[in-house]
């Protein structure tokens, strides 16, 4: 899926791989090869052991909704076309202190604990973004 955004990422030497991966359909973030800690946003130092033996590794791309809002008034026309839209703050399965925001794609209203999976969205050839898609309810 390709979508336009007025506010675009600002790729630099730390983050260009992150945005490229999303454009290519994958969520990655900084992963410490020494202690195993994940850091998001992707940064040049491990927040846990302060080493720099880091790589942008793929995460499973699953998590659960921690909090959410319903945006009725956005300030840019590209997002207004979705309004009202739900913005979910998702706690990643890999690590409980990583919260990643994104628009929620779901037929059902959001709730805490709702299972979601990342839905990368291509903005340009080298820039991607993400939404969260509700997982089918199990059981």
């Amino acid at each position: 899926m390709t979508s336009e955004r007025l506010v675009k990422p600002m790729p630099d030497r730390d983050t260009v791989g992150y945005w490229q991966a999303l454009a290519d359909g994958q969520l990655v973030t900084s992963h410490c090869r020494d202690c195993g800690h994940w850091t998001w946003p992707p940064r040049p130092i491990c927040s846990n052991c302060h080493g720099d033996n880091l790589a942008l590794d793929a995460v499973a791309g699953t998590g659960e909704i921690y909090s959410w809002i319903v945006v009725h008034r956005s300030t840019t026309p590209d997002m207004m076309k979705y309004a009202p839209y739900t913005l979910a703050l998702v706690r990643l399965d890999e690590q409980a202190d990583i919260y990643i925001p994104g628009r929620l794609i779901s037929d059902a209203p959001a709730y805490r604990g709702m299972r979601v999976r990342v839905a990368p969205e291509r903005i340009t050839e080298h820039l991607g973004d993400l939404a969260w898609k509700a997982e089918p309810a199990s059981g």
Partner: protein, 392 residues
Amino acid sequence: MSGNGERFPRGQAAIAGIGCTEFSKDSGVSTFALATRAIRAAVADAGLDIGDIDGLCTYGTADSVSPNVLAQALGIKSINYYLDQYLGGSVSMTIIGQAALAVSAGIADCVICYRAINGRSELRKNGAGAGPARAPWDIQFKMPSGYMVPAQEMAMNARAHMLRYGTQHEDLGRIAVLSRTNALDNDRAMMRKPITLDDYMESEWIAEPFHKLDCCLETDGAVAVVIVNAERAKDLPHRPVLIQGAAWGGGISIANNGFADLAESPARPIADRLFKAAGMTPKDIDFAEFYDCFTYPVLSQIEGYGFAEPGGVPDMLKDGHFDRATGTLPFNTHGGLLSEGYIHGMNHVYEAVQQIRGDAAHRQVKKHDVALVTGQLGYVSGYSSATILRGA
């Protein structure tokens, strides 16, 4: 021990003068002009001259006139202290604390802290119009997804508080109504039409759980204050307002690893240091001017600065605990950013000084010796800031 606030130069610097412009939707002039007008008024109020100024401090989002440009305009040949702190409302009280450090250390003798903003007619904080002049690095991980503006970020945290403590929309609404009530007799206030809880509940959604009336105003205007050594302030016209304590630093944001719940108050990490710096406890505070870019941060600060147990604010609101005339902790006595205007928090200092001097007319609170004045909670930047002011 270092770093716990006890070595703050308690009460050694004082606010000796205050000045402001009109607060409006369109100033018709530049932020440069607004700053000079507020500074001229503040210096006159202090009984000083422009030539006495040797320090200039401001903050913002690179959306206003900077100290070096002002120094040139004011004819200050050698400025002894300056600060142009990026990061917006979360550092609004940082510059007051920094100015106190500079003055008490003798680095500078007369420091102006100012904020000039054309928040409605030029650079709007909601990203409309010309948009932010400069975006922080971490914003790129929110904005593309449509997580654009502080209203949305604060609403996300309000939701977390609702989920944990059962906080209701009406609880936030009572903060909006109280703020508006306090603005009704304030000549500076942009919003002087009464509102009810029903009006609040019926106001349109902006970012649910925030209604329109949860959100502060967009304002053009400026505020400046004059900070000098406390000894010198004794010889100036007004009751000196001592900078009793200040603290700034660590908050709670989604890009900070290592915290458990966004329902926790980002004021918490600086609160103990603040009160140690001042040699006080929350019981010593007569009134508060809480940074209220939205309703929910007020609730979170009442908890975080130690005036209520987490989840305890709604009952206090219903009991009239915060009513200006009769409550035990009046807050936002001028209507706050929600109803007076949004000078990025510096108008809170202006009001606190007027109250401490006893110059607040119909708004005057009964006990007015000690004020807590705060900056924005550190959700967005990861910083919070606050100061305690005391009448000498």
